[in-house]
Symmetry: C2
């Protein structure tokens, strides 16, 4: 609980629209009357070009000292693909043991969804994506690169330890929600080694949560159901890669990537959790005030909730809900800053 | 070209609704005046329970002798997950070198899509899914199974040989379509070894097809764009697992799994290609005449096209298009057989 003192927040605006949306997130935190002590970190493409550094060890150690981290977005076409993702973003998730990548998929009233028939009650789920292993481990290799005999491998590493803790978290989350339904998503019929581990661990943990209904869905079917039967899902638990894919489908059905929030959570609090919009750095619209800061603002609400400030979190979420409702049918586009101002005003008022 | 002689067709109805839909596929082939010599193979759950056999070597050798294979669906809850998938379906795809898993995603006029704003012109693409390697290789293992120290691995195997041939096929496909656009889908920023191979091979083949516009999309973004910008895609080329996921999203946006056709194609014709609906055996509705045979009938059209009978293939596709248009707004459900009869009548007429 943070009530008694300031929140010490590390801020990594990152690249592209990251800077713009993070400014609005901080504005809203301020409007909510949160006492903040923020420190900015200039990690991302600029730092990489200037010094070759992505995430220096000393910075990583410093980051461990904060209550939480707010991240905008990293990535730029000028940096070789994978460098900032692997050596900065994923390194943070792995090193700070963010084993729960929490991604709500929620259609707010008034928001347009590409799904013609869907109503807010149909799209209200939370995806619990594993964040520290699976195909994201970086394991693999290449032989005879650039020749006709090249082979490239990519390995998914899954441990009982890693799977059990995220599955248990997902059960707890399901237990706390009205529908109390958990869907495991994997591809047990093809990825038999990893899938079998996930399925067995889920079966093992299930009896601890007798009120939770457990369901299983192959990832291909789940991807389809996100589109044509989203009401099937309440809490979804899945591996790192399937969670990446499903939460982008989730963003699409819930009104777009501009609204999708996420938390990289370390539930054991052995290191700070990190909150970030699901969207990327969008270099094509960077610096133009066109980015929607809503995803970042909703991520800030998740951050407060994680730190025990549930009332403030709810106030921000309600302010966003109000703002989204008022956008209905309005065609005039507001700038990043205007949207931030409007939401901040609702929070303050 | 098959004009001069009968098509020798191996038929594997399989499990659940497989039998029902395959019967309608054969009915339509017959109505199209195709001279067929069919041989049925009772592979699937029943055979597995009776003899423990999934795909005996002798049967596999026999199957090599046909012009093509028509498969309904395999899988049953009574069989341990993965057994029929791995030892029958995937074994056929791998052994018969079906390196192109061809899956059109096409919204026919009159068909309802969950995407409110989408028109047939917006959803008209072909997914070229690699079919013989990647995460489907079955590589992986498990240590200390059932203990808290268990580790399970799953390995994606990718070769320059395997990637290049499917990428080249996809370029040819793109070249033959009016838009001439090819999108490579992978996750190069995380699956760096495999992704790099796919990206380099695509770059290497591209100059052979100067008219084709090449695009790249991460699998998470592509999954989102299938839902909110399907018009982005013309031909998509991707690995075995991403293709599995994307084509189920594709089925969802194009009106459901009851309409999604596929071909497991060996373009070099060193072994017969195999055509099958994308849907599974649906044990919950098996034997009730509720299954939609349209996906199988469209798969049969793909089969004819593959065998050089383009006119007959087009006639079947047009018959299906007509049938789908007439379904519009009609609420009375027809049985599997009635739908087959109606389409067959259009083909014959
Ligand atoms: C940028 C990329 C490494 C990242 C991921 O794949 O996890 C992103 O897509 C996300 O979902 O946060
Ligand atoms: C049944 C299963 C093994 C198969 C696959 O994953 O390829 C199916 O989902 C498909 O898409 O044909």
């Amino acid at each position: 609980m943070q009530d008694s003192r300031d929140i010490r927040l590390a801020v990594i605006p990152g690249d592209g629209i990251g800077t713009e949306v993070v400014a609005e997130g901080l504005k809203v935190l301020d409007a909510a009357g949160i006492k903040l002590e923020t420190t900015g970190y200039d990690l991302g493409a600029k730092r990489y070009h200037a010094s070759g550094e992505t995430l220096p060890d000393a910075v990583l150690e410093e980051l461990r000292g904060y209550d939480a981290i707010l991240l905008g977005a990293v990535g730029d076409p000028s940096v070789p693909p994978g460098v900032l993702e692997r050596d900065l973003l994923l390194k943070l998730r792995f090193e700070l043991d963010h084993y729960v990548n929490l991604r709500p998929v929620k259609l707010f009233p008034g928001v347009e969804t590409p799904l013609g028939g869907a109503k807010p009650a149909d799209i209200d789920m939370v995806v619990v994506r594993e964040g520290t292993e699976g195909p994201y481990a970086g394991a693999g290799g290449v032989l005879r690169k650039g020749t006709p005999h090249e082979i490239a491998t990519q390995e998914s590493l899954n441990t009982a330890y890693g799977v059990e803790r995220v599955v248990r978290y997902a059960f707890e989350k399901a237990q706390s929600r009205p529908r109390k339904k958990l869907t495991l998503v994997h591809k047990t019929n093809v990825l038999t080694y990893a899938g079998d581990l996930w399925a067995r661990v889920t079966d093992l943990v299930a009896p601890e949560f007798p009120e939770v209904t457990v369901d299983y869905c192959h990832v291909d079917a789940a991807s389809m159901f996100f589109v044509n039967q989203p009401e099937r899902f309440d809490v979804v638990v899945t591996d790192n890669l399937f969670g990446d894919i499903l939460t982008d489908i989730g963003a699409a059905i819930a009104g777009g990537i501009g609204l999708a929030a996420s938390g990289n959570v370390n539930p054991d609090r052995t290191a700070p959790s990190m909150f970030e919009p699901v969207h990327g750095s969008a270099p094509d619209i960077a610096g133009q005030g066109k980015a929607d800061p809503t995803a970042t603002i909703l991520s800030v609400a998740m951050l407060l909730d994680h730190l025990g400030l549930a009332a403030e979190a709810a106030r921000i979420e309600q302010a966003v809900a109000g703002d989204l409702l008022d956008r209905r049918g309005v065609s005039a586009a507001r700038s990043t800053r205007e949207i931030g101002d409007d939401i901040a005003a609702r929070v303050a008022g």
